[in-house]
């Protein structure tokens, strides 16, 4: 029996679910708003998850204006009131919104407040539950309090990366507009917000596809949902003809094939316009390869700037394809030591050219690499101006999307496997922007995001395609295939 079930005052989770649904009916018939089929079903799923307890996640992908907020607000009220009145237990419920300002959060707060006002008489006279509906806009919580002093606290908080909301803990959390939520903040700060006394947390992730994928976790989670977790304009119109009429006008206005209509009403994740590559395509690039010492090899190095990593990638050219052979990675800015290590790393691989990103680190670091690697490989610095960015990323993007760049599938060295995982992760988060008609690949705007592996690999491929070797030499055949 789950922890939550033990706390249901001897009730089985099924019994508690039926009790909550009875209460939802009682609340609903006192409101000027009736939930439709998909809202009732989704709400019941959430109620079941809360009664069952444990660590449960419920993704919901609904079209715009089909009633996400109404459903979540009524469900939160039902659960909160049932806990204090019938289960006689405190509960903390959170509404988490990516809004930087209070405006976004206010929508839910106002909806919740309005619903509470609608049923205030029933709550106070019929159920003996007091509602403390924030005296001012800044008040943190909505509270339902029974006269035997059990409290359901409903708190709306911001998921903005600067909000720093680490203190909160919830047994039921509603994540709103998850598509716009910063993935790292969500995973590291918001997900661990299971309530302290009893670790039990049900997370409802509700959103609509965006034009760009800001949150890869939500994107992956919502790609294979079914009704009622997935509700597009067709499902919604089936149950709400008024919605059908309204969305028909939107379809005419936006165009059926427009990305805006497809994402907001059809709930389709369209082309990932702001991503260098999507995870599925990236995974397909994994391929085991037997390296051949007679083939040309190139390296690309992204030198650490401040708190960063230096990454060097070695690739081998095999016809039209490029295969990554190994990665070097070092933390920090001890360039002397790194230059020695890069020399040691590159020596056995016998690369032709090492193309080094010299942007920002200055000539001394490049000179250090040139001197250390003299006789081993040609070290060519490149300053990534907007034009150079465009040249590098156009080639790199082409190689990636046409599957001409592969990375190893199996590893004998666990350290290389770890680096490969970073290589994959960084590619999946890299932002692809177009500035003045030129492509620029950048790290996402958040703490601890890196794309050093992407830059390093991009430079290696650029060197290989452009064949930047100053002295084209046929590689010497040596015994073995390198390390």
């Amino acid at each position: 029996m789950s922890l939550q079930a033990q706390r249901l005052r001897g009730l089985t989770p099924d019994r508690a679910v039926r009790g909550m649904i009875w209460l939802r009916q009682e609340l609903e018939r006192r409101m000027p708003y009736l939930m439709t089929d998909y809202q009732l079903k989704a709400s019941s799923m959430i109620i079941e998850a809360v009664a069952k307890g444990g660590n449960i996640e419920l993704p919901i992908l609904w079209a715009r204006r089909v009633g996400k907020t109404d459903m979540t607000a009524l469900t939160a009220m039902t659960v909160g009131i049932y806990f204090v009145r019938f289960l006689r237990h405190d509960i903390d419920i959170g509404f988490i919104n990516p809004a930087k300002t209070e405006q976004g959060i206010m929508v839910t707060r106002d909806r919740l407040r309005q619903k509470c006002i609608d049923v205030k008489g029933y709550l106070e006279i019929g159920l003996d539950v007091e509602t403390l509906l924030d005296q001012g806009r800044k008040t943190a919580d909505f509270v339902f309090r029974s006269s035997d002093n059990y409290e359901a606290r409903i708190r709306a908080i911001s998921a903005d990366i600067h909000a720093n909301e680490k203190g909160a803990g919830f047994q039921l959390s509603f994540f709103e507009q998850v598509e716009d939520m910063d993935e790292q903040t969500m995973k590291t700060i918001l997900f661990p917000m299971a309530a302290g006394a009893v670790i039990s947390s049900c997370r409802v992730l509700a959103g609509t596809p965006g034009l760009v994928v800001e949150n890869n976790y939500f994107y992956e989670l919502t790609r294979r949902l079914r009704y009622p977790q997935f509700v597009d304009d067709k499902f919604a119109s089936h149950f709400r003809p008024d919605y059908g009429e309204w969305v028909e006008k939107e379809r005419e206005r936006l165009g059926e094939d427009s990305d805006e209509y497809k994402t907001q009403y059809r709930c389709i994740w369209v082309v990932l316009r702001n991503r260098l590559i999507d995870r599925d395509t990236m995974i397909l690039l994994a391929k085991d390869y037997e390296s051949d010492q007679t083939r040309f090899r190139y390296a690309g190095t992204d030198v650490a700037k401040d708190v960063d990593r230096t990454v060097c990638t070695v690739i081998e050219r095999a016809g039209a394809e490029h295969h990554i052979l190994a990665w070097y990675e070092a933390e920090g800015t001890d360039y002397e030591e790194q230059a020695d290590e890069i020399k040691a790393f590159l020596t056995p691989w016998r690369v032709q050219t090492n193309l080094v990103d010299a942007t920002g680190v200055g000539d001394p670091v490049v000179d250090m690499l040139v001197n250390r690697c003299r006789g081993i490989c040609e070290t060519v610095p490149i300053k990534l101006s907007l034009q150079n960015h465009d040249a590098v990323w156009k080639i790199y993007e082409g190689e990636l999307t046409h599957g001409r760049l592969n990375y190893p599938k199996t590893f004998t060295d666990p350290e290389q496997k770890r680096r490969c995982n970073r290589f994959i992760d960084e590619h999946c988060i890299a932002d692809r922007n177009v500035v003045s008609n030129m492509i620029k690949v950048q790290k996402p705007n958040r703490k601890d995001a890196h794309i050093d592996y992407v830059i390093s690999s991009g430079l290696a491929v650029y060197a290989a395609v452009k064949d930047l070797s100053l002295h084209r030499r046929v590689p010497q055949v040596a015994s073995g295939r390198g390390p």
């Binding site: 679910v17 039926r18 009790g19 709400s43 019941s44 019938f86 006689r88 003996d128 006269s147 079914r226």
Partner: protein, 104 residues
């Protein structure tokens, strides 16, 4: 009402002791004494103790007045029972999830 009585009433309101919830079933059948007992329970106990004593009081009242209106707990019990026996309602409320006719 004397000044002292007014002050006592005001004090009662401020402390919350005067705002005891009287359920509709109690005001329908309860005598003055029974209502006073309910108020005394409400003022004397908190949390778990209060809940248990109120339930106990409700049980005694039900035995004494079998025809009194349903308490909130009894309403919930009846609602749960109705839900359990009505398959169409279970389906409508999403307790039985079958593919909807509109699902494609």
């Amino acid at each position: 009402m004397t000044k002292v009585e007014r002050l006592e009433k005001r004090l009662e309101q401020l402390s919350g002791a005067g705002n005891v919830w009287i359920p509709s079933w109690l005001s329908a059948v309860g005598s003055g004494e029974e209502i006073a007992e309910w108020k005394a329970i409400s003022r004397s106990y908190r949390r778990e103790d209060l809940s248990e004593r109120r339930l106990e009081f409700q049980r005694e009242m039900r035995e004494k007045y079998p025809d009194m209106p349903l308490t909130v707990e009894e309403q919930e019990e009846a609602g749960v029972e109705r839900l359990r026996s009505d398959i169409a309602m279970q389906r409508r409320e999403g307790l039985i999830r079958e593919p909807s006719s509109s699902e494609t």
